[in-house]
Symmetry: C2
Subunit: 174 residues, 2 copies
DNA sequence: TGTGAAAAAAACACGTG
DNA sequence: CACGTGTTTTTTTCACA
């Protein structure tokens, strides 16, 4: 596995790109005191190395009518790992499940789920999640208030300049 | 509060922009069989109405060395709401906390936290989170495997065409 | 690594239905 | 008033020094 060197300029660029994924090379260059071509080449490197995974438009769930957000713990019965795979596959295909982690502790999985209202959330739980094979227990915590919600990863832990493990390649059209 | 009408063209545009926040108006137009100017005007409307909250570059936490992801439940002692406000403020200022929700159920808050490794996660818990005033109990579930992780909201629930509540305005430079 | 040309895309104004 | 067309401006990409 190859590596990429990330210096403090890269970190500043990444930080700004996390805030504004459409920042122009010119604007970024002005911010970090680098030429446009420098910025362009650095971003290309960051994309190719997989540090930048994707550019995306972030939508407002409340405006779109998705008023319910829940953290749900799921426990599976003990029936071998085939069941786990089936559960993971099924959950990955459910658009209302934004996140699914297999975790340490009492539960097997923790899910982050959105729904339009409590009625439809309840229906999703009863009719879809609980009916998946192997699911023996679910426990949901409904969000009362969203204190903080960000996609922006902390970057200050990166000792500058740092070697970072290289990953997948971002396709041009993705 | 005013409203915006979102039809099936808008939904297709939003869906694609969630996947690729840098899709050009031309490409989007081809996809939904609409002219460039149509797409441009629709996107502008979606931005102004707050449906599109932000454009962002999504970074890869593993590539950046943030190998630990945890879901942490926090319980506060019963000392009035001033304490809750202080906790919420403190947590909002911690970059390693990506998400914080106040929730129903046993715990008061659920947090999504990243760290470079278990040692630094442990240090964060002991030295920073547990020392916040009012915190009497925390319980963490460490992610063993990330089954699914998306920002893409489901859009199929929107009955087409639908009235959507208007929100804040996206500033041009944000 | 910067500079300048070429290509692409976005923003804008205009004319038309 | 909504729509497409054409023009202008911005931004990116690429070749070259």
């Amino acid at each position: 596995m190859s590596a990429i060197t990330v210096d403090r300029y890269d970190l500043e660029i990444l930080s700004e790109l996390q805030r504004n994924g459409r920042a122009t090379n010119g604007a970024l260059g002005e911010r970090v005191h680098l030429s446009m071509s420098q910025v362009s080449r650095r971003i290309q490197r960051l994309e190719e190395s997989g540090v930048i995974r994707q550019y995306a438009a972030l939508l407002d769930s409340e405006v779109l009518g998705l008023g319910v957000l829940a953290i749900t713990s799921v426990t599976l019965g003990r029936h071998g790992e085939t069941q786990g795979d089936a559960f993971e596959q099924a959950v990955a295909d459910m658009p209302e499940v934004l996140e699914c982690l297999s975790v340490t502790g009492e539960a097997d999985y923790i899910l982050r789920v959105v729904a339009t209202d409590l009625a439809s959330f309840s229906e999703f739980m009863m009719k879809r999640l609980l009916r998946l094979p192997g699911v023996v227990n679910v426990k949901s915590n409904i969000a009362l208030k969203r204190i903080k919600e960000t996609h922006a990863l902390p970057l200050n832990h990166v000792t500058q300049p740092a070697q970072v493990t290289r990953r997948v390649v971002l396709s041009k059209s993705a």
